[in-house]
């Protein structure tokens, strides 16, 4: 593309959505367009965040992982063969990095969820302020007792419900508007955990 053409085409990714947008941003970023890379971060950092949290990391470690994954993408910018599959690459890379972080910290004494819940930390998590009702508290507690796989799947389902996250649904092979059997099982597990919790 000549410079004249480049000047007349204002941000080819600006009007696009989903995988098309990610692919266009990736290609622009490879050509040195930092704005395109920043747009990818703005779009998809929340996805990376929820995968990291769904893998069981605390909020501080999750943020480290978010940045590590984007630095890794910067490093692999020219090596990623399928720009349209970026969301899938981010999910896979985040899981791997989250596992690595967890394996490293297993030498430490882990706090049980009950203890952790009552331990004051400087974690800026707004969790304790916002829990409005007993039901919310019980449901949130049950959610954290789900398997990591279910927690991650349900978090990503939340994201996939938004228009800009269509690529997430595709990366997870979740057809639009249909309820995957795994999601159904996870919700059933959540019901059981909730009922067990409130029955005790």
């Amino acid at each position: 593309m000549t410079e004249l053409q480049a000047a007349s085409v204002v941000k080819p990714w600006a009007e696009l959505e989903g995988r098309d947008r990610h692919a266009a941003c990736m290609l622009a970023a490879r050509d040195g367009d930092k704005e395109a890379f920043d747009a990818l971060i703005a779009d998809l950092a929340p996805l990376v965040w929820h995968v990291a949290r769904g893998s069981g990391l605390d909020r501080t470690s999750a943020e480290d992982v978010v940045q590590t994954v984007w630095l890794a993408l910067l490093r692999h910018l020219h090596r990623l063969t399928e720009p349209r599959a970026l969301a899938g690459w981010l999910i896979t890379t985040t899981r791997r990095e989250a596992n690595r972080v967890q394996h490293r910290s297993t030498g430490q004494v882990e706090l049980s969820p009950e203890v952790a819940e009552q331990t004051p930390t400087a974690d800026p998590s707004p969790e304790h302020e916002v829990l409005r009702t007993e039901r919310d508290r019980a449901l949130w507690s049950a959610f954290h007792k789900l398997s990591q796989r279910c927690q991650e799947l349900l978090r990503l389902t939340v994201l996939a419900g938004r228009a800009e996250y269509r690529a997430v649904a595709e990366a997870l092979h979740m057809p639009h508007g249909s309820i995957g059997p795994t999601r159904g099982r996870c919700l059933n597990n959540l019901r059981s955990l909730y009922n067990g919790d409130s029955g005790s």
Binding site: I41, H50, Q67, S105, T121, S125, V158, I179, L187, L190
Partner: protein
């Protein structure tokens, strides 16, 4: 519990809780954009270091000066941060030792650069506080550069 609640209704509740109780931290996008805003990456082999998890409880690292450690491959870097008024002093120690280039980037404050001595020690004074990232250029060569996630100092 309303056991007859449909999957969609339960999912909507989960969505509300996830969005309200565990949103990405404020500034996550901006800090990540800062972390990747690195110049002159041509012909650079970038390695991403991890902060060692030396925190007794999650979340206490931010804003609290003290010793933090990061590592990647065979490289370990210990960093001790001391407040000096509005600014701070950073004492560092790299292993394996060598005359590695060290750069400290602080968001909205540019960067401070030095070179470690033969023992791997380096000192940076009058470093502004803020969202901070460290870069180590192994043996002061551009070709192998180690970069950290940001830490709020």
């Amino acid at each position: 519990m309303r056991t007859n609640q449909s999957d969609d209704e339960l999912m909507a509740e989960v969505a509300r809780l996830v969005n309200e109780l565990d949103p990405p931290p404020p500034g996550l996008v901006e800090r990540t954009q800062f972390a990747v805003a690195l110049d002159d990456l041509d012909n650079v082999e970038l390695e991403v270091a991890r902060w060692a998890d030396t925190r007794p409880l999650a979340g206490v690292r931010g804003g609290l000066p003290g010793t933090i450690t990061f590592f990647v491959g065979d490289l370990t870097v210990m960093v001790n941060v001391t407040r000096t008024g509005e600014r701070q002093r950073i004492d560092g120690w790299l292993v394996p030792a060598g005359a590695h280039g060290v750069e400290v980037r602080v968001a909205d404050h540019g960067s401070t650069v030095t070179t470690a001595d033969e023992g791997g020690r380096f000192v940076l004074t009058e470093v502004p506080r803020g969202t901070t990232q460290l870069l180590v250029r192994m043996n002061a060569e551009q070709s192998r550069t180690v970069v950290t996630p940001t830490v709020d100092l």
